[in-house]
């Protein structure tokens, strides 16, 4: 099981807290690093700006990406992740409220690994977060390095 942190890109503090609770209940112990906008997500991934020389410098085991973010939205973040050799193979799971066909389509063509709609029902939300964690942190074997 991967022990590297999970990067959560989410601007809604309620959703951040619910995601924390869901990971805790699912016994997923990886550190959850939260950034509230797209620009900060890229600073973290590329270890620049406030994250210049961040300790460990390794990439997260998983990026959970919301779509509607202030300043730079989730699609642009996804595009930047896929455009750089250092982050190209990172698993990125889009977790959002939208099921608009054009959002789903845009995310897959930009290279999202999964697209998950956040359910309103907390039981279903927990189930979804647990499945994501189980698949990407336990079952899936990532590329080395």
């Amino acid at each position: 099981m991967s022990t590297r942190p999970i990067l959560l890109v989410e601007d809604n503090p309620d959703d951040v807290e619910l995601t924390r609770i869901a990971f805790a209940e699912a016994k997923i112990a990886n550190e959850l690093h939260v950034v509230a906008n797209g620009a900060e997500a890229l600073d973290y991934l590329f270890a620049r700006g406030d994250y210049a020389g961040r300790p460990g410098h390794g990439q997260p085991s998983l990026v959970l990406l919301d779509l509607n973010l202030p300043r730079m939205d989730g699609r642009e973040v996804l595009q930047a992740i896929r455009a750089d050799a250092g982050t190209r193979s990172l698993p990125v799971v889009v977790m959002t409220t939208s099921t608009e066909p054009f959002d789903v389509e845009a995310c897959y063509s930009l290279g999202a690994n999964s697209y998950i709609r956040k359910p309103v029902d907390f039981g279903q939300f927990m189930w979804a977060v647990k499945q994501v964690g189980m698949y990407w942190l336990v079952l899936n074997h990532p590329r080395e390095g």
Binding site: N12, D14, D15, L18, I21, P119, V120, D121, F122
Partner: protein, 277 residues
Amino acid sequence: MKQEHSSGQPLPGGASAGALAAADAATGDGGDLAARLRECEAELARVLQDQAHVSYGIAHDLRAPLRAIEGFATMLEQHSGESLDDTGRGYLARIRTAAVRMAGLIDALQALSRASHDHIDVVDVDASLAADWALVELRDADPGREVVAEVQHDIQVRADERQLKQLFDHLLHNAWKFSAGRDVVHIDISAEREGGRVRIHVRDQGSGFDPRHIERAFEPFQRVHGPDEGGGHGLGLAIAQRIAWRLGGDISVDTVPGEGSVFHVELPAATGAPAEP
């Protein structure tokens, strides 16, 4: 000259300001009509754009706070439920039920908007399969309910498969709900072809309703039944009607209180031709 709105579908109506200007020139009526039609087209494009934004906003920005309400009410129940009395736990249960109900309403509003705007692929579709599929999903969602369903085989129409399935979802869900007081849900789906049209009949043996309310039944948010009689968010039949219209068809209902309802869906018949662009 034809304007298009955001989803790339041509505006309804068919006539364009350009065509009308040509007609004006030919009859010497001046450009007034053409100018007015151009204004109307521009106005319609703006309205459609606004509607798309409102629909997107509803779908996203209203769901996030609901998730917080439902999620934290659940957490409160788990963490502090013991220290609450029955009344307090009852209030929490009401909060959660209301949040989930509102989420269902938001989904239905979005479906209503999509019924008129989504891209559609019109091809030959086996409506019997679409109806069977909708029935299977309803049975899965309510496994305790006894259902006797008869679906005529090989009903071939020209439609968008996903939207046709949705149309059946709403009609069958309706039949299901209004059979709430019956021991068994009876659903019978038959059809006949008349020239280039197919008339599909979805018959239930539920509670029916007062025929004076037939017009209202298809209007958004109009409920002919209260929540205790199986009434829902009041959008299902409105969505079904929008879909029928969008597919070049229509929908109507005959109903007898206490005996049940028959919904008639008229659609273009299958043609054997490939997909329309």
